[in-house]
């Protein structure tokens, strides 16, 4: 059987591996925008062909579909989905793991997502305001009370979000001035007419629940947690994610079974709401990027219409059953037959990025890196290639997270394994690598415990999700 994989990052490397390792013996074909060494290896190993094209462009992908004529497709990143690449597959009659253009709106538009949650009364929703004018957003920030998250109204790949805790009256002015100055930069990321979304700020540990949907049946994957801050010890600007953890089991140490079930329920209700709105089946992956908050318990921060990156690298290596086949069953509508066996041991993923990421793309691009792959594997470490291209015989950075190092082991062991692995990576530019990922479990357990007191109490009093802010100038919102 032939499978065509679309995309070029570490997540796609993990997917390519899962497909190539499947006992079903898939031949893996792929289309990327540059030569990802990991995907290349999976393709060559299974006798496929590696196409260099434009994964985000339906026309370019269609040509590859025509050339390969695959039995099914798998789309990794969100941009192809937003542009209708999944619809191209289906037009050709080829089943695919990937939300349609319509369905991917759940990720593309953060405003549409919030409206949908309110319209269908789905738990875990937040108060929000949408702005088409940057000036109005700036005005709103200055006039209204309360802590806020200010974001581009669209998914732009982990940039532009500002979260401001404003409980300290004495610093309110400083914080609001900086934020309102920053608003035009935030708004400039959004291409559509709605530029900015402002949400009430919530607090608590974050986690992601990925769910496969074949249009009738859904299958939840083990939880994962993504680390957003660029630098060590959760300091620094927002990124697409500098690492992740998953497990043990299907949970995380700070999320209970009940919270898992509630999160799953939220995602299922959202799938129904999307299908109801578009009169279309949701076929692909939908992921609730969630936070356990005092306001709601499980709360939606945003949705992905695909697997998260770097969450995928934490989850896929923990699946003991044939994940390649699970993908096929998702595409073809036979998910009911799927078996999902999950490794009990947790995993830790740490990304390696060139200095300059995420604030200075030029600085982070076109730098050579070297690694001793056989030795890293010997140490028990998986290596997925991300924003790094094979050019001639060299690995050259493309400006984002170049590698994802994965260890499936108890957290403390994983920490040691990954550090050893990382010492086998070198570069002509200093590398960013968050040694703290996977070693702050106790802190997060405590954070979860704290918000759990609040949301359980709210629940008992029928106050889940009830909140408001007020200021003399702005009034109530």
């Amino acid at each position: 059987m032939k499978v065509l994989l679309v995309g070029d990052g570490a997540r796609e490397n993990a997917l390519a591996d899962a497909l190539a390792n499947s006992p079903k013996g898939y031949r893996v074909f792929a289309v990327s925008s540059y030569v990802n060494p990991g995907i290349k290896e999976a393709v060559e190993r299974t006798g496929g062909t590696y196409y260099i094209g434009k994964p985000t462009d339906p026309e370019s992908v269609r040509q590859v579909i025509k050339a390969v004529n695959p039995d099914f497709g798998v789309i990794g990143p969100e941009d192809p989905l937003f542009n209708g690449v999944a619809d191209e597959f289906r037009k050709e009659g080829i089943p695919v793991v990937g939300a349609s253009k319509n369905c991917s709106t759940i990720e593309k538009s953060k405003v549409w997502m919030r409206e949908l949650m309110w319209k269908y009364g789905i738990p875990g929703r937040l108060r929000f305001r949408a702005f088409s004018s940057v000036e109005e957003a700036a005005e709103f920030i200055k006039e209204y009370g309360g802590s806020v998250a200010v974001k581009p109204a669209e998914q732009v790949g982990g940039k532009g979000v500002k979260v401001v805790a404003d409980l300290q009256a004495y610093l309110s002015k400083e914080k609001r001035i900086a934020l309102s100055k920053g608003v035009s930069a935030i708004g400039s990321y959004a291409k559509g007419s709605v530029k900015i979304i402002i949400e009430e700020k919530v607090d608590g540990p974050e986690y992601t629940l990925h769910v496969l949907s074949d249009g009738n049946v859904t299958l939840p994957l083990p939880l994962a947690q993504d680390y957003k801050h660029a630098y060590l010890h959760s300091i620094g600007p927002e990124t697409g994610g500098m690492g992740s953890i998953s497990g043990p089991g299907k949970l995380l140490p700070f999320i209970t079974d009940e919270e898992y079930e509630r999160s799953y329920d939220i995602v299922r209700r959202t799938i129904q709401a999307i299908e109801d709105t578009f009169k279309e089946k949701y076929v692909g992956v939908i992921s609730g990027q969630m936070m356990l908050t005092g306001l709601w318990g499980p709360t939606i921060i945003e949705y992905y219409s695909r697997l998260g990156d770097p969450e995928a690298s934490a989850i896929i290596p923990r699946i003991k059953s044939d994940f390649g086949e699970v993908l096929e069953l998702t595409a073809t509508g036979h998910l009911a037959k799927a078996k999902l066996e999950v490794e009990e041991a947790p995993s830790v993923v740490r990304a390696v990025a060139p200095r300059g990421y995420p604030l200075n793309k030029e600085m982070a691009s076109n730098k050579r890196i070297w690694l001793d792959l056989p030795k890293m594997r010997e140490l028990g470490c998986k290596v997925y290639f991300g924003s790094v291209a094979l050019e001639g015989n060299s690995l050259v950075t493309k400006g984002s997270r170049a590698l994802e190092l994965v260890a499936v082991q108890p957290f403390e062991e994983a920490d040691k394994t990954l550090n050893k692995c990382f010492s086998l990576v070198s570069s002509e530019i200093p590398l960013i690598y968050r040694r703290d990922i996977g070693i702050t479990i106790a802190e997060q357990v405590e954070k979860a415990e704290i918000v759990r007191f609040t949301y359980k109490n709210r629940e008992a009093r029928g106050l889940l999700g009830v909140s408001a802010d007020w200021s003399p100038q702005g009034g109530l919102w």
Binding site: Y170, E174, A178, I235, R355, G356, D436
Partner: protein, 406 residues
């Protein structure tokens, strides 16, 4: 004695002046005779004042502006230290020419810090926008790092500063660890092997009870100290009273352990800082405040267990005991929530010389007589270690055993 703070923004739309300022305010319990701020734009602007952060006029902050800055509240004049390439704030003692030390840290941080003489935690901000934090290998003074959202990196002595700013403390530096923060990264490096001799005074009374220092929740430790006192010296009193503010958690632990009644014994006139006229600098830290007015209903006709955090000359305590008796206390038994102070501190904590320390000069009976108490008892060194949970401590002022020669 000092609180230090550094703030660096990843986006230059931020003016961090007020953040630095409020950071120092959240640390002024660590020492407040002098305060100072430096902010970085193209170059540095610096403000130094001979008063506590809370007494600095809003207007004088207006001359400062910048996307990074450092702040100081403490008992040493002339900080921030200003070199040609960097400014520096520190808590502890640094020997040598300070401006040129700041510059050499800016030029070659690892080497300069390895060669640093003295014992301190410090923050250096360089003209080219690097914020360098370092805690010396004995780790006598605390230093922590963390952030505010996706926008600011923060270094500060105590987590109280992070709380005041609405940020989050994520890591206490290891002894001997250096951190360099700039817009493009956070790097840490172990410059020297950690020796771990955390200042016991910092834990038992200098830090704020809402803080975490050296990985310990300060409030919890102090309640445990009260429990340890109860085990070592149980007194069947009618009421337990702690001297505000520091000794209240001790009293809570003591009364809870023995099932005794706890009452508030005092209220205060004026701000703990502003009314401070005492010559004895050490008293300022300890927070035994000048105008503590006792409450009659709490003590009249009662056998009182009075708990304080330390004793220097004994004068304040003498006053306190006298006041309690004046309001009708039948008996006053004094407990001190730390071992006897018998020797000066070479690392910047203002513990006076032995000759000024009552416990270094008189016997227990004599001291009880001087302060007018029915009995007096100090927490044992062992009890202190037990309450803290380990013995990686500097106890120099209590034992005359000093971990580091400087």
């Amino acid at each position: 004695m000092a609180g230090i703070v550094g703030v660096l923004a990843f986006d230059k739309v931020w003016d961090v002046t007020k953040f630095v300022y409020y950071g120092t305010l959240g640390l002024q319990h660590r020492g407040y005779s002098y305060s100072g701020l430096s902010t970085l734009n193209e170059g540095f602007s610096t403000l130094r004042e001979r008063r506590a952060p809370e007494d600095v006029e809003e207007d004088s902050l207006a001359q400062l502006h910048g996307w990074a800055g450092v702040g100081y509240s403490g008992n040493t004049e002339g900080i921030p230290v200003e070199g040609k390439e960097a400014v520096m704030v520190y808590d502890g003692v640094i020997k040598g020419d300070l401006p040129s030390i700041a510059d050499s840290i800016a030029r070659d941080p690892e080497r300069a810090l390895a060669e640093l003489r003295g014992s301190a935690s410090l923050i250096v901000l360089t003209k080219d926008g690097r914020m360098i934090g370092y805690k010396d290998d004995y780790g006598i003074k605390p230093l922590q790092m963390g952030g505010f959202g996706f926008d600011l990196a923060i270094l500060a002595s105590e987590s109280s500063a992070f709380n005041v700013l609405g940020g989050e403390m994520t890591k206490e530096l290891e002894p001997g660890e250096m951190v360099i923060i700039d817009v493009y990264g956070v790097q840490t490096k172990q410059v020297k092997e950690p020796r771990r001799a955390y200042c016991a005074i910092d834990i038992v009374y200098q830090s704020r009870i809402d803080s975490k220092v050296f990985g310990l929740d300060v409030y919890d430790v102090r309640v445990r100290i009260g429990e340890a006192l109860a085990e070592e010296r149980p007194i069947n009193g009618d009421v337990v009273i702690g001297v505000p503010d520091t000794a209240i958690p001790y009293a809570i632990g003591y009364s809870r352990k023995l099932g005794l009644r706890l009452d508030l014994g005092f209220t205060r006139t004026g701000s703990p800082i502003r009314t401070m006229l005492a010559k004895d600098d050490f008293l300022k830290v300890v927070g035994v405040q000048l105008k503590l007015n006792p409450i009659k209903s709490s003590v009249k006709g009662k056998k009182v267990v009075l708990i304080d955090d330390s004793m220097v000359t004994g004068n304040t305590l003498k006053n306190t005991v006298f006041n309690l008796r004046r309001l009708g206390a039948k008996e006053v038994h004094v407990l001190i929530g730390s071992p006897k102070l018998i020797s000066a501190c070479p690392y910047g904590m203002e513990v006076p010389d032995s000759k000024e320390l009552i416990a270094a000069n008189l016997s227990d009976e004599e001291i009880a007589k001087v302060i007018g108490a029915d009995s007096i008892y100090w927490l044992s060194v062992e009890g202190l270690k037990k309450a803290i949970g380990h013995s990686h401590l500097c106890l120099g002022c209590m034992t005359k055993v000093y971990p580091k020669v400087i």
